[in-house]
């Protein structure tokens, strides 16, 4: 059970973060189809950042000194750097869609093509292969928090599930998710941002700078997508960059729609989709109650079934809710001051 929850979180937390990224952009009125691309870009920049720190010998030195706090600090630095890179990358969308009224769907698609291509082009030159891993090790070597680090000896359920073999990224993302959700839904700034996605002309008439708000929404979106991508890479891809994130960006888009653009629903939806993803990835070794019986494997349902469920469910949800969808009204429409 601990294993199942831990693995589910590894998928669900990045999904949740990236889905919130989608919400920030769409609430401000910009469709961010480039979530997948931004994730890929974030992973690449994060891994490059870590490798630069490694070239300086920081990781290895901290590890030999047994200084796990320092390693977590480096991970935090990497996360901040990734957030910055993601925000910069999303300016490609911002400038095109906000300042130049370009077609947001096409721009998003172009960015989804650009990120993996650029990442793979550079990865191949840097590593002479299609994977850019950390030097001398991976996530478990440098970033994994073990209960021994914290001086905890118990092997209770809580400790095993949430403390042992955990990653800082998980808790960083949860914290960011909560803070940003509160900002979006409980503050004046959040209300202003959301009004730009519903009726920008009305918002502008009240003195809100729609262009500025949309830029902020898009850049927060990019930062979150980058962080989500890097979190996924740390927990599920051994902190390596491969020019793909297994469709997680599109899955996040599905989570956003399934969660009806609301943070709490998104958190729940990402848990559900994360569970599917986790079962699909490791159902043959899942022993839910620890009695040595692999129930899911015995059920004999193909892993492919679990993998395609999230997308199928989203399509069905779209069908059921098409009549009263809560999608932001003005999303995807370039802001035209003269329009009413």
């Amino acid at each position: 059970m601990s294993f199942l929850i831990r693995q589910t979180l590894f998928f669900a937390i990045p999904l949740m973060t990236v889905a919130l990224a989608g919400v920030f952009a769409e609430r401000s009125g910009i469709i961010n189809l480039a979530l997948e691309g931004t994730m890929i870009f974030g992973v690449f920049m994060g891994v490059v950042f870590c490798r630069i720190l490694q070239t300086a010998g920081l990781f290895e030195a901290a590890r030999e000194a047994g200084n796990w706090q320092a390693l977590q600090g480096y991970l935090l630095l990497a996360l901040l750097f990734v957030a910055f890179s993601g925000a910069v990358f999303s300016l490609l969308l911002g400038v095109a869609a906000i300042s130049f009224s370009a077609n947001q769907t096409i721009v998003g698609t172009a960015m989804n093509m650009l990120a993996p291509a650029l990442a793979l082009f550079l990865i191949r030159i840097m590593a002479n292969q299609n994977v850019l891993p950390l030097k001398n090790g991976g996530s478990a070597t440098f970033f994994m928090i073990r209960k021994e680090n914290l001086g905890i000896e118990s092997d209770g359920f809580f400790v095993e599930t949430f403390v042992n073999k955990a990653y800082l990224t998980t808790y960083f993302c949860i914290l960011v998710f909560i803070i940003l959700s509160v900002i979006l839904y409980k503050t004046r700034f959040g209300l202003r941002l959301r009004s730009c996605g519903e009726n920008p002309q009305a918002a502008a008439s009240l003195g809100i700078n729609v262009f500025k708000m949309r830029y902020i929404g898009t850049m927060i979106s990019g930062a979150l997508a980058g962080v989500g991508g890097f979190a996924y890479s740390v927990t599920s891809a051994n902190t390596s960059a491969t020019g793909e994130v297994a469709g997680m960006g599109f899955l996040a888009l599905a989570v956003m729609i399934f969660g009806n653009w609301k943070p709490l629903n998104i958190a729940l939806a990402s848990m559900l989709f994360g569970l599917f993803k986790c079962i699909g990835a490791s159902y043959t070794v899942l022993d839910i109650n620890g009695d040595g019986v692999f129930k899911l494997a015995e059920l004999g349902i193909s892993a492919h079934f679990y993998r395609l469920m999230p997308f199928l469910i989203t399509l069905i949800v779209l069908m059921l809710t098409s009549k009263n969808s809560r999608a932001p009204k003005a999303e995807g429409q370039p802001y035209d001051k003269g329009m009413r």
């Binding site: 096409i106 093509m113 599905a254 492919h304 395609l308 399509l315």
Partner: protein
């Protein structure tokens, strides 16, 4: 979900020369970006010499005419292998481009070409490998496989069409979901099949080539013109399909009805056109065309399908977007745009063989071209600016006000 702004996609005929110029500007910017990227990376990397960097830039611009190296220097000339491979690789992206172009003409953004391509690939390979060629003539198997793949693609493409027509669900989101469902289903079908290539032990997750069952697209004499390349009759079939679609879209009532629905669904309905039927049909046609792309590529006999594709979508579907944008949704223009894109791919291959750089720069260039194409409206406005200022102040002034807006608004806040 939102309506896609079709301004960038729908063009009036009056503007066609400007539009062509806008496409050429996109291409130019894409190529320059690619060359600059290679130059910067080459200059910064300690392992890459200045000569290699120069060669990389040369190959990006003229890779099609590369004939290899002699005495350390790059040589250029007519290379039949490159030309043949260009035509071979153009085949699928001409058709996915056509698929997206036709959908765009009818007001739909078919981002689902990748999924439809996979469905076509799956159906054609399954049939081409399952019907024993000692009982049925291989040419007949080929025809059945090709036909069934188009039908399968049409049905798959019709799904987002139906969701759009009956429930008004945005086709972009529906297509994205359908893409990933298709990727998983195709992986599932092949995983459960006995078509996995076990004869060659070194290969994991590949399907047998169709030549394993003696099925392959006829060369139609093209191998004589381009000896040593992968080219086959598929390119001729693709061009014929393009011409047929041009006739349908420009010369028939049916094509006109499809376009009318794209321009304004409700006006078309008011004029007595069955809007729902036409939306479904245009997505079904788009699906059939993308499927044909997959079928022609994998029925060639010299290609292998990597079946464990559930984590990634085929690039052909996305390159098709670039093709359609460059061709401004013109079915004939698609042939040239597709050939150009595949020329970039050939340049990329040459880059991998001959320099320390690699083929992914091609995808970077294509992505930049798509990105710039989204600005086509702005580029055209800039081109029009001078002319329109004379007789229409409003249009010429629009760009100006857009640019001034942030500053103005800031003043307001202060």
């Amino acid at each position: 979900m939102p309506k896609t702004d079709k301004n960038g996609l729908m063009k009036s005929e009056k503007q066609s020369s400007k539009t062509l110029l806008a496409s050429l500007i996109s291409i130019l910017i894409g190529l320059i970006f690619g060359a600059i990227t290679v130059w910067i990376v080459g200059s910064l990397s300690p392992d890459i010499s200045a000569k290699d960097t120069g060669d990389g830039v040369k190959l990006i611009l003229m890779g099609l005419f590369s004939t290899g190296r002699s005495g350390g220097a790059l040589t250029f000339g007519f290379n039949p292998v490159n030309f043949g491979n260009m035509l071979f690789r153009a085949t699928p992206i001409i058709l996915t481009g056509l698929s997206i172009a036709v959908a765009n003409q009818t007001g739909l953004f078919n981002i689902g070409a990748s999924g439809q391509y996979l469905v076509g690939t799956c159906a054609s390979l399954y049939i081409a490998l399952s019907i024993p060629s000692d009982k049925v003539h291989p040419v007949l198997i080929w025809l059945i496989a090709f036909a069934v793949s188009m039908v399968a693609g049409a049905l798959w493409g019709a799904i987002p069409g139906m969701l759009k027509a009956f429930l008004n669900i945005n086709e972009v989101i529906a297509c994205i979901m359908c893409n990933w469902i298709a990727a998983n289903i195709v992986t599932w079908i092949f995983d459960a099949s006995n078509l996995k290539n076990t004869a060659e032990g070194t290969k994991t997750a590949y399907i047998y080539k169709t030549t394993y069952n003696n099925v392959a697209t006829s060369k139609m004499g093209l191998d004589k013109i381009f000896p040593g390349s992968q080219v086959n009759g598929g390119i001729i079939i693709a061009i014929l399909i393009c011409i047929a679609m041009w006739v349908v879209m420009s010369k028939t009532t049916f094509g006109y009805q499809l376009k009318a629905c794209g321009a304004n669904r409700y006006a078309a309905k008011y004029a007595g056109i069955a809007d729902k039927r036409n939306i479904i049909l245009s997505m079904a046609i788009a699906g059939a065309l993308s499927s044909a792309a997959g079928a022609l590529y994998y029925l060639a006999g010299n290609t292998e399908f990597y079946w464990s594709t559930y984590q990634s979508l085929p690039a052909a579907g996305f390159s098709g977007i670039a093709v359609a944008l460059l061709a401004v949704n013109n079915p004939i223009g698609v042939i040239f745009a597709g050939s150009f894109m595949s020329m970039l791919t050939v340049c990329g291959t040459q880059l991998t063989y001959l320099t320390p750089f690699n083929e992914y720069i091609t995808d970077v260039i294509i992505a930049v071209i798509v990105y710039i194409s989204a600005f086509s409206l702005i580029i055209k406005m800039l081109l029009n600016r001078k002319k329109e200022k004379e007789y229409d102040k409003r249009d010429g002034g629009e760009l100006k006000t857009d640019k001034e807006t942030p500053a103005k608004a800031e003043r307001k806040e202060a």
